[in-house]
């Protein structure tokens, strides 16, 4: 599940095989869940429910991919949920002020970039731990959002914008397409470009990376900017989906994103992670929530199941990693 999955070419080695195995295990788990739910309830395999599931999972998946970049550098971004809520307010506010749609979208994404810049500035220049600086933005962004909206919500009247999340393309919800739009460049970035390698190197040993000519500061900026921008993008999608801007939305989504990433094989110690892992992780979580709803399982149980799942998957992943010891 780390870079060895993608590094180099041809002949498969044991390492590579094992990593692919983990990816396949996750995929198998996801399919098994779908199969089981299909058998357990008639409501699961209905077009409506599947679209719903894909929409639900899409937003966490995008957040998780952004989060993974940060975690690979041995950092953490606790602010993403707050950024989602905050940017939903921003876009609603801009649209209400009569700003053209395209400009509102670009401006909102730009705000995401700026939040990432701020995080990296705090980490690189002020020497703050990532946990602290992103925790600080988590609370203050919610505050600023509430100030802007005066504690209430801003409704969005722009039809084109709100219709987007309901639309389908080739029978697949547009929100899910957005996952693909994010995942492909993310894959190229992380696994095929040198910047991806630099993320791993910085997460593994900063000093060695620096002495090898890696611009460590810039790499950290890049990671946090990508994470916040992904979050701002999700903010747009959420605003489109619920038709309002509300600073308290997306409560706890940062934990969902981190959980998806970790289930997908990312190591919180840094230097281990991929793009496909967190995607699968996000959809596994979404499936569990969806299934629990369909089966009328108490939502408290959903949380417990999610917690157990994290423990089980990460435990087995660690066993696998330690296997060669």
């Amino acid at each position: 599940m780390s870079v060895e999955t993608v590094e180099g070419s041809a002949a498969p080695t044991p390492k590579r095989g094992v990593s692919i195995l983990f990816g396949l295990t996750l995929l198998g788990l996801l399919l098994a869940l779908w199969l089981a739910l299909g058998l357990a309830t008639n409501a699961f395999w209905t077009p409506n429910n599947i679209s719903n599931l894909l929409r639900q999972g899409a937003m966490t998946a995008i957040l998780a991919v952004g989060q993974t970049f940060v975690i690979i550098t041995a950092g953490i971004d606790l602010s993403v949920g707050a950024v989602v809520g905050f940017t939903s307010v921003i876009v609603a506010w801009l649209l209400a002020a009569g700003v053209p749609l395209w400009l509102a979208v670009v401006a909102t994404l730009l705000i995401g970039v700026l939040i990432g810049v701020f995080h990296a500035f705090g980490i690189v220049r002020m020497g703050l731990p990532p946990f602290i600086i992103t925790l600080a933005t988590l609370t203050s962004l919610r505050g600023i959002g509430l100030l802007i909206t005066n504690g209430s919500t801003i409704s969005i009247t722009n039809e084109a914008f709100t219709n987007f999340s309901r639309a389908d393309f080739l029978g697949i919800p547009s929100l899910f397409w957005m996952v693909i739009v994010v995942a492909i460049p993310a894959y190229v970035f992380l696994h095929l470009s040198r910047f991806g390698r630099y993320l791993f190197a910085v997460g593994s040993n900063r000093e060695a990376a620096r002495l090898s000519g890696v611009n460590v500061d810039r790499t950290i900026y890049l990671a946090y900017i990508l994470s916040s921008t992904c979050a701002a993008f999700v903010g747009l999608l959420l605003a489109s989906r619920i038709g309002i801007g509300n600073a308290t939305q997306a409560e706890g989504w940062e934990l969902q994103a981190i959980a998806s990433s970790v289930i997908g094989g990312t190591s919180l110690f840094g230097a281990v992670g991929s793009v496909h892992g967190p995607l699968l992780g996000a959809f596994i979580l979404a499936t569990i929530n969806n299934g629990a709803n369909l089966l009328n399982v108490n939502s408290f149980w959903q949380r417990i199941i999610t917690g157990l799942l994290i423990i089980v998957i990460v435990y087995f992943d660690q066993l696998r990693r330690r296997g060669s010891r």
Binding site: L192, R194, F200, A201, S204, A271
Partner: protein, 545 residues
């Protein structure tokens, strides 16, 4: 710090990683107030029941270790005699450290038997090994950098009163031990602020003061200068006189002949023989180790010097001041000095890692401000740093990524990396330097110490630098590969490069450097042409005797 390493360091069979746990270890472990005297007393009482000198104390019978498909140690049967100094030699990756980790309970064995004082023992955890009096100073320092020297020495074995740690008493006792051993180290300093060599001495002191009956040194002198090595040898002999059995691993055969009573040779995980030291010689050991002979280790070719590549004038920065020297194309400039003399700091300053406070750097005649590492690389400087763990390698990433890290820019075509070239470059360095690995995808952490060192060197060879700074390039590297690395130097010189060679091992700089500069306390105090001064003179200048 790996979990295994931490376990080894604290002697705790812990499950969670990280320093918190090491700190937790400071607070755990019930009661028993163990002061220094109690510790040495414990050793005395144990020795009364000990095996008589010259009788087998530890026997390996078909001991074996596989890492997945890698046979790190093939069934080995070696007997260690009570009170002897038993050296183990072998090429990089021969299985020496693996053997040690098995004996200290850091890793589980795959098969075989270990008999301690005649009884089979499991050695399932570091705790068990320590309880039996088996201790080791590992190849890589496995202590806690954020704790003080004293706290590290007492880690897992703290002095306590009513459950509270007696910090001052421990610092005092630790200082006593250090002074007694003749190590000039402050017990209250934070470990991380010491050089690697000094940390190694702390690890040695730590092992020496526990109730040790069997003490293993895995390349203890790799980072030590001659003076510090001498202190260490004195300590080893003293321990031997007290009845401790010593296992001594080193790539420096002259040390083996100086210290050991017997020597065992490993080759490719196989125990190929044990000799009495008086009945063997270097040539035989080398032949056993590598299955061929080497005529000449220090391969020195003289090339005509070309233009001056770099010149520093009065360069001053953290840890060094007023250093003026120059390197010409085709020239090896050696920097010798004691540990902490400012050689590595000078190298890091020249490379742009540390800020320069005064003085100038001229690159091919033009004044330059280097400022950061990337500018240094762009000019054509390569630095293979001193500490492979802290500065040289991304240990939990593949070997291939480590080798290619400085050159990813060159491997990029458009947006993406050319993966065929990436693979080819990694494989070429692995082949040229004979890095012992089944694949470039193996993590660097799975390599033996010497093979890790080769990765540190290999990553700079395709960068096309004009000036190579090698800081302790042969630490932990076996004789055969050493000779290869020296030959590689000659190849670089032939291509018109210049080399700054920093080494704490005098014969190396002495035999290879066209010009030898001696550092003392951050200053360049003397310079000699090739073989112009004697070893003694150079040493005297380094220690100001």
């Amino acid at each position: 710090m790996t979990r295994g390493a931490l376990r080894a360091a604290t002697g705790l069979d812990a499950t969670a990683g990280g320093e918190e746990q090491a700190v937790a270890a400071l607070h755990s472990e019930e009661g028993n107030m163990t002061g220094l005297h109690e510790i040495s007393h414990r050793r005395d009482t144990e020795l009364k029941t000990a095996v008589p000198k010259g009788e087998p104390i530890l026997e390996l019978r078909g001991l074996q270790k596989n890492y997945g498909a890698v046979q790190a140690l093939k069934p080995a049967s070696i007997t260690f005699l009570s009170g002897e100094i038993h050296a183990i030699v072998g090429e990089n990756g021969a299985g020496k450290s693996t053997l040690i980790k098995l004996l200290t309970g850091v890793i589980p064995r795959t098969a075989g038997e270990v008999r301690w004082c005649g009884e089979p023992v499991r050695l399932a955890s570091p705790n068990e090994a320590i309880a039996r009096g088996i201790n080791a100073v590992h190849q890589e320092v496995v202590l806690c950098p954020h704790l003080s020297v004293a706290a590290n020495m007492f880690l897992g074995d703290e002095m306590k009163r009513n459950g509270l740690m007696r910090k001052r008493a421990m610092t005092g006792a630790a200082q006593g031990v250090l002074d007694d051993l003749g190590f000039n180290l402050p017990a209250d300093a934070t470990l991380g602020t010491l050089t690697i060599g000094q940390q190694q001495l702390v690890a040695t002191a730590r092992a020496a003061m526990r109730g040790t009956r069997f003490l293993i040194f895995d390349e203890p002198t790799a980072y030590l200068t001659r003076q510090e090595s001498t202190q260490l040898f004195r300590l080893i002999r003293r321990l031997q006189n007290e009845g401790v059995t010593i296992v001594y691993i080193s790539h420096r055969l002259e040390e083996v002949f100086e210290l050991a009573d017997r020597v065992s040779v490993l080759r490719d995980g196989t125990h190929v023989g044990t000799r009495l030291i008086g009945e063997t010689n270097e040539a035989e050991l080398i032949a056993l180790m590598i299955n061929r002979t080497i005529e000449q280790i220090y391969h020195k070719e003289h090339f005509p010097f070309g233009e001056t590549i770099v010149e520093t004038r009065g360069l001053t920065g953290p840890g060094f001041s007023d250093v003026s020297l120059s390197v010409r194309s085709g020239e090896i400039v050696g920097l010798y000095g004691l540990i902490g003399a400012g050689r590595s700091e000078f190298a890091l300053g020249l490379y742009g890692r540390h800020p320069i406070s005064a003085g100038e750097v001229y690159w091919q005649g033009k004044k330059v401000e280097i400022g950061n590492e990337r500018n240094a690389m762009a000019l054509g400087i390569a630095l293979a740093p001193e500490s492979r763990r802290d500065q040289g390698l991304c240990l939990n990433l593949p070997i291939g990524l480590n080798i290619n890290l400085p050159v990813f820019r060159k491997l990029t075509r458009g947006l993406t990396i050319n993966r065929a070239e990436e693979a080819a470059n990694a494989d070429r360095q692995i082949r040229d330097l004979q890095i012992k690995t089944p694949s470039r995808r193996v993590l660097a952490s799975a390599m033996s110490g010497g093979n890790q060192q080769k990765i540190v060197i290999g990553k700079w060879l395709s960068h096309g630098a004009k000036l190579f700074i090698f800081d302790e390039p042969t630490v932990g590297v076996d004789v055969g590969t050493k000779a290869e690395i020296y030959r590689l130097f000659a190849r670089l010189l032939e291509q018109g490069a210049g080399i700054i060679l920093i080494s704490s091992y005098l014969p190396e700089v002495y035999e290879l450097a066209d010009r030898l500069h001696v550092f003392r306390q951050g200053r360049l105090v003397a310079s000699h042409d090739y073989r112009a001064a004697s070893h003694e003179e150079v040493l005297a200048q380094a220690i100001n005797a």
